[in-house]
């Protein structure tokens, strides 16, 4: 198990309020779990607890998190630093804010490689170029020498994914990583995550407010609302036999106000049916 959450509760120590009340899941190597919820549902805090970067005054008040079999509650700052990047990596919504605007992106990714993999500058540079190719940046050499402002949102997110997987982590957390992107670019990034998962055995935690995004990539879905897990199960069960009212609302939103408005239930069912016969 590369990542295990057991009944994780997160408390705001300033107010004493528990803002996440019971999130549990097991993530095997190469598996993908999705967390769906609104802003404020606790999905980002849950991710942050896994990365050891909870904001000040927030703490895991009960339950536990194990990364690669290790309980993280007793980790020192130094041990967390060693874990992040090499075992677990993450990408977030606004890629530009995670890059230094005045340093070329290639140098920034090479620096991550150099520090995490303890290799020479030249080897780090070569590895960064390889990574750029693996995240399907069209011209790695060119991008290497560009500044963040010269790249589109989609390209920046590819650069951040390259940095996140630079030290070959086992888990990648993508927290609303495609939300700010155009839908065609979102599709490419989701494809890329799927490709990395298939080729390297990377396990994924995909977090989104959109059930359909999560459902594209993940085998298991957790629906969070106001800090509580309202429903959790295999993706098809959540999509086609939702039990909780809130999950039904998320699905109804698509059926009534999404493209699905024009795709009859028969289309959807037959599509799924076809797949089951494969």
């Amino acid at each position: 198990m590369v990542l295990q959450l057991v009944d994780v509760h997160i408390r705001n120590d300033a107010t004493g309020q528990e803002v996440v009340r019971g999130v549990s899941f097991d993530l095997r190597p190469g598996a993908a779990v999705g967390i769906v919820g609104e802003s404020g549902s606790g999905k980002t805090l849950t991710c942050r607890s896994v990365l050891g970067i909870l904001p000040e005054l927030f703490s895991v008040s009960s339950g536990h998190v194990a990364v690669d079999g290790r309980d993280v509650s007793s980790l020192s700052g130094k041990e967390w630093t060693a874990l992040r990047g090499s075992v677990i990596g993450a990408v977030f919504q606004d890629p530009a804010s995670y890059l230094n605007p005045s340093i070329k992106v290639g140098a920034q990714v090479a620096e991550v490689v150099r520090v995490k993999k303890r290799v020479s500058r030249r080897a780090a540079r070569d590895r960064a170029l390889e990574l750029f190719a693996s995240v399907r940046l069209r011209d790695p050499e060119l991008v290497y020498h560009q500044y963040p402002h010269e790249l589109s949102g989609g390209m920046l997110q590819r650069v951040l994914i390259a940095a996140a997987v630079a030290a070959d982590p086992q888990v990648l957390i993508a927290d609303e990583a495609t939300t700010a992107l155009d839908v065609t670019v979102q599709a490419e990034i989701l494809d890329l995550l799927a490709h990395l998962r298939a080729t390297t055995g990377l396990a994924l935690v995909v977090v989104s407010h959109d059930l359909a995004v999560v459902a594209q990539v993940c085998d298991e879905v957790i629906v969070l609302r106001d800090g509580e897990t309202v429903e959790q199960g295999p993706t098809d069960e959540i999509l086609f036999e939702p039990r909780h009212e809130y999950t039904k609302l998320l699905i109804e939103e698509h059926l009534q106000y999404g493209l699905e408005r024009f795709l009859t239930p028969v289309d959807v069912a037959s599509e799924v049916g076809e797949l089951e016969h494969v």
Binding site: V183, T235, L263, V278
Partner: protein, 273 residues
């Protein structure tokens, strides 16, 4: 065919840029009838905001014609545009409804502002503010609140109410639901769907085909400044004719595509018969 509230034809817009000119709109045409909702969909840089800004007289086209409520406005001077905007025939709802209300003004003050500009008496303006609140389904009690005391969904309705208070023939909504969460988005779309029953023409601009498809009668797809497709919403979704529209439909996350993607991801080949 009912009356056209907006008729745009052959619109060309260039922006001056360092190192040349950017062709932001290329012979774009779009018409919207009374009571009709038209979705304009496109990615970043496709020209959709330029189209909205040109229709509002904020950007000058290099070619083409714009007719609003039967009046040709293409050659309007700045003063004429200002007068037109004051009449409140066309209203514009900004991208971020949560930040487009003055935090220091009560709901009532924000709502009546466009009417006071027109010289309408304060008492009459307040009566109309109450009526428009009712139209967007909000409690009259909210009139004396500040934006900070309202939920995101309520603020969004106030912004739309402020646009409606002048009885516009045309409302242009730029990404009106993108900043809302699911529950509020459903309510906002429901409410926008009802609006046009009052005869108001809506132009709904978005990068999100999903939310546009949810309420639009027709969808115009903008790609690199060109309207590459302008057909009934169902046709665009079910049978897109332009290559870019096809890519857009294919990319949109839907519950149906979810299963297909997951199968591909799990290494199962999806056989097509």
């Amino acid at each position: 065919m009912s009356e056209k509230v907006l008729d745009v034809s052959g619109l060309d817009v260039h922006y001056r840029r360092r190192g040349g000119r950017l062709h932001a709109l290329r012979s774009a045409s779009l018409s919207v009838a009374a009571g009709e909702t038209v979705g304009v969909i496109g990615e970043t840089g496709s020209g959709k905001s330029t189209l909205a800004r040109t229709v509002l007289g904020l950007v000058r086209p290099t070619a083409g014609r714009i007719t609003i409520a039967g009046q040709e406005v293409t050659g309007f001077s700045g003063r004429q545009w200002k007068a037109l905007r004051r009449q409140g025939i066309v209203q514009y709802v900004f991208q971020d409804p949560l930040r487009s209300l003055d935090p220091d003004l009560t709901v009532a003050s924000s709502l009546v502002e466009p009417l006071l500009i027109q010289g309408i008496r304060a008492a009459d303006a307040r009566t109309r503010a109450l009526a428009v609140l009712d139209r967007v389904g909000l409690d009259p009690e909210l009139l004396d609140r500040l934006p900070g005391e309202l939920s995101g969904g309520q603020r969004q309705r106030i912004v739309v109410a402020r646009a409606l208070i002048t009885d516009p023939r045309l409302v242009i909504l730029d990404e009106p639901v993108s900043a809302l969460d699911s529950a509020n988005r459903v309510r906002a779309l429901e409410f926008l769907r009802q609006l046009r029953l009052g005869g108001t023409a809506l132009v709904f601009i978005s990068h999100d085909l999903g939310s546009v498809a949810g309420i639009a009668d027709r969808i115009a797809v903008l790609y690199q400044g060109e309207v590459v497709e302008d057909r009934p919403a169902r046709d665009v979704v079910v049978n897109p004719s332009h290559e870019y529209s096809r890519l857009l439909v294919r990319s949109a996350p839907t519950l149906a595509s979810a299963a297909r993607h997951r199968a591909a991801l799990n290494g199962k080949a999806v056989t097509t018969v």
